[in-house]
């Protein structure tokens, strides 16, 4: 009761004078898309970042595949010894977590845990692995020319022997004031006009509408508060960014997918980024260009 009151006081006090999260003002990573999202050990994972204003930023990728990290993802914090991060291969477009590495990690995990009686913490790790999977966290760090960290981000993937793994949403498609742009069939992260290039008036309010087709929403298993295995359901989340103007919401979801973008007063060409997430590690993203006159 007492804590709740304090929280109510805090909720009532909104921030002011801060930069909006939707306006990109420096190097940022807006999305990291992994392929696949969930997979069995032995499969390769690739990670592709969608960056903004990150020219000249050097990226490095790392992951902790230690027994300690894997057991902790199953709620067993007392198992394993020390963390052990390894660096991922990065070719400038994609980072690679090899299937060999994930297989070795799982093999090491269960070799270290051994055969445990039912109910032991080691058995819990195995049960969670088989039921919902173990979560791995991939870390991304970007440094500028002086070596200062300007990007620090992470992305999760799941290792699981389940057959019904979840997948990424399709590449985005959305309308800018009625003009459709799409990233399907083209270069990754690029939303190209399907017909005319989008043009809007300076200072006008533009409706941005994602394609209202969310047949890609999937279900996944989870362990609820009573320890039962239940099915969770993904949702669709649309997050919007630009370098100027103002958005009515940073993120929308069905049924209110649309967002209003107040175009900047200054004429020019501006990027509009859309990041689509399914709420269960899956994602897709793209960047469109809009002309303001």
């Amino acid at each position: 009761m007492k804590r709740v009151l304090i929280v109510l006081f805090l909720i009532g006090c909104g921030p002011s004078g801060f930069d909006p999260p939707t306006i990109v003002m420096g190097p940022r990573v807006l999305s990291i898309v992994s392929e696949p999202v969930e997979a069995a050990p032995g499969a390769d994972f690739t990670f592709r970042p969608m960056l903004a204003q990150a020219e000249g930023v050097e990226l490095t990728w790392a992951i902790d595949l230690s027994t300690r990290a894997l057991a902790a993802s199953a709620g067993q914090y007392q198992l394993g010894e020390t963390a052990a991060a390894i660096e991922l291969e990065w070719d400038g477009e994609r980072a690679l977590l090899s299937g060999g590495a994930t297989q070795a990690a799982i093999d090491a995990l269960f070799a270290e845990l051994g055969e445990a009686p039912p109910g032991a913490p080691e058995a819990v790790v195995r049960e969670v692995y088989e039921t919902v999977g173990l979560t791995l966290v991939v870390n991304l760090v970007g440094r500028d020319a002086e070596g200062a960290i300007v990007i620090d981000a992470f992305k999760r993937v799941v290792l699981t022997p389940r057959a019904d793994v979840t997948t990424n949403p399709p590449a985005p498609r959305f309308a800018i004031g009625g003009t459709w742009v799409s990233a399907r069939g083209g270069e990754p992260f690029v939303c190209a006009p399907e017909s005319d290039a989008p043009v809007v008036s300076a200072g006008s309010v533009v409706i941005l509408s994602p394609e209202p087709d969310e047949t890609w929403i999937e279900t996944f298993p989870s362990i609820d508060i009573e320890g039962r295995t239940v099915q969770g359901t993904e949702d669709a989340y649309y997050s919007w960014f630009s370098t100027a103007g103002a958005f009515s919401f940073a993120t929308t979801r069905p049924p209110d997918r649309d967002v209003e973008w107040t175009a900047p007063e200054e004429p020019g060409t501006y990027p509009l980024w859309l990041v689509v997430r399914d709420g269960h590690l899956g994602g897709s993203a793209c960047r469109a260009e809009v002309t303001v006159h």
Binding site: K2, L5, F9, I11, C13, G75, V132, D152
Partner: protein, 824 residues
Amino acid sequence: MHEARRTAHTHRGGGSVHALVQSYVRSLARTERWSLATGIAVLTFAAPLLAQEVTPPSLIESPEVTLPEGAEPIAEDASVLLALTIDAEGNVSDASIVEGVREDVDALVLEAARTMRFAPATRDDQPVPARIRFRFRVTAPPALEETPPEETPPEETPPEETPPEETPPEETPPEALDPEPVEELGVTASVVREEEGAASRITLRGEELTTVPGTFGEPLRAVASFPGVARSPFGIGFFLVRGADFQNTGFLVDGFPVPLLYHLGAGPAILHNRLIEQMDFYSGNYPLRFGRFGGGLVSLDTSFPNVRTPLGEISIDAARASVFAAFPFDEQRGGVAVAVRRSYFELFLPFIVPGIELSYTDYQALAQYRVNDAVSLSAFFFGADDRLDQSGQIGDGGLLSEGSRSGASFDLQRLIVTMRVRLPGRAQLRLSGMIGRDASGFDTSQPGFGLLHFAFEAFFAGWRLETEVIQSRELRARIGIDVNTLSASILGTAPVPSGLGEMPRPLPTIPTSETSLNVIQAFAAAYYEQVVDLPPLELSAGLRVDFMRYGDVFEPVFDPRAVARIRVHPLLTIKAASGLFVQQPSPFTIFRVGGNPRVAPERSWQNSAGIEMTFPYGIEANLTGFYNRQWNIARGVDEIMPTEDGLRRNFFSDDGEGQAWGLEAMLRMRYEGFYGWLTYTFSRSERWSPGVSPQVFGFDQTHVLNLVVSYGFDGWRFGGRFQLATGRPISTITGSRYDADSGGYAAIRAPSLEERLDYSHQLDIRIDRDFDIGPIRGSVFLDVANVYFSELPEGRIYQYDYGASTTLRGLPIIPTIGIRGALQ
């Protein structure tokens, strides 16, 4: 219950004995009706008439004397006749008993007499030593449960043959003393000593507790400026005492717990101050008769107010209106009082914070009757109803966005029936029972969230049996039973923790569960306390055994406690206390689903030692050091526990530990129209858990200083309160990481809470003006909290990526004006 206390109380009189006696009696009449015994001194001079050039000594100041708790009652007209030698400085150089009452009473009066001060006798305008006889009369208080008040005529003490060393003082014929109605003096914060079994207690008294600046006339809010109490964020009415968490300090009404004493947790008290007989605040090592709180205690005792004829009173201020009425009957053997208060925030709050509606109501009815000299009965019913509704966007959005609607409510009712009996053999008994109900509800509808609904209803029952047995002059015992039961039901669609396998989402999705839970808890305690009174040593030691039944827990808990006091000097007492305390975990931590029904009772070991001093001019000082150790603290976790039935998720563990140590000091003065106190608390509080090294407690405040002053004259009273407190610890955020799955940022925090918010400092002022219009007496007041709009840092607000931050400010300037009028 009567209290053992010795409160220095000073009064200055005029030049004549008449004026002195009147002044003294008047001020004693104002001091309290709650004291078991209030000393009324009547000067008599047993000597031949003085020559014109000789004047007798005149009383300047005298301590109030009250019998120790547990002492045998005395007759109404008991008095002690003293022989005093007063030197040329006006000090009592010798005192002896001429006619005593009883050894323990005589000893107290004699001790008090040695601290009296007089204007010396004079001859030819030169001070000279003198011997006088002084009758110190002790009367019972005019409380309903005690002997009814009487208009005390002066004691007709016949002159006695006491030859003065110098020219004998003139015999002054006794003069009639006009009884005066009880006046409100303002606040009295007495460092009360000698409550057996309590290390220290600060007592506030209802009718005197309406003028502390910044409290808006609410006596309970004065607790915030007491030693050992840290500054509460946003001025909420829950207290951080001696490094313990909010929930560790309990609220009791007539011995029974209530979840809160303030509307909406931060507003005015839920009880009308006319019905509050006394409020005791224990910062630690509270008496054995209380239990189930691991920190301090705020204990309220209620009673019919001290009125002799029907009284009606209306109060109106900027936030609420209240009506109070009291009807004594049967020659004041009984009385009935009722009070209703209602806020009207809804009239103006929408203009200040659109979308917020706020209201509260409270109501009380008290009936009290003294059946005979041995038995008195009382019944007290009270309730409160708080409502908070929100609709639409507030601030810059966030959780409270356009289209949102939320509502919260809290109701409580209690009925407490008490019977007090004086038994043969000097024993006393108090039997009380309670039934009650709490109901709280919360519902919210947020875009994308759906509807959350949560309703909690609990029924309480409890009873207490307290007996006090005087075994001998040196030995007293207290034996008691304290039982409380709770039956609660929880219904609704409640948020639950995310399932394992769920991942963070860009917009919060609150998993819900249709909840229907029933909880039954029972707590029964028995205690025995033995008091050994061998002056100058007083030792209280005892054992309280609490049987606790909740969740999967059913176990007895043994709490031995001891308090020792040594009066090394009439002005100086050394004290030390140590004891174990237990507290059941919050009901929300022990739910079978979403909690952990095996969470053990929280324990604490409290220790304190210090000194208490009294000085002339109503000055008291108290210095106490403390060390508290806590274990079995419930803390939030997210563990998956293997069981025979499969996996089970635990969200609370009882392996948290803590400790706190510090020093608290209070210097208080009450003299004529002035009252005030200066308090300072230095403390350090830490918490840890397995594998985690001790860290400073999140609400720790190293230094807390309070200064309260108030001065009244000619119907005016001016007061101020200043508070200075160290800022609470906060995490040092060194950066952030972008969570590509949720789109949010996770702060990178330093491993320990080394950074603190800035010091907070606040000044409150208050002006009262009494008026008297025909039969209506009342007052008008202006109370302004945070006069100079101090920032009052409560936390930090961060930009979405933690790249910028600003201070979360506390309460702004809050002015309140009000009027109160009483017709009697």
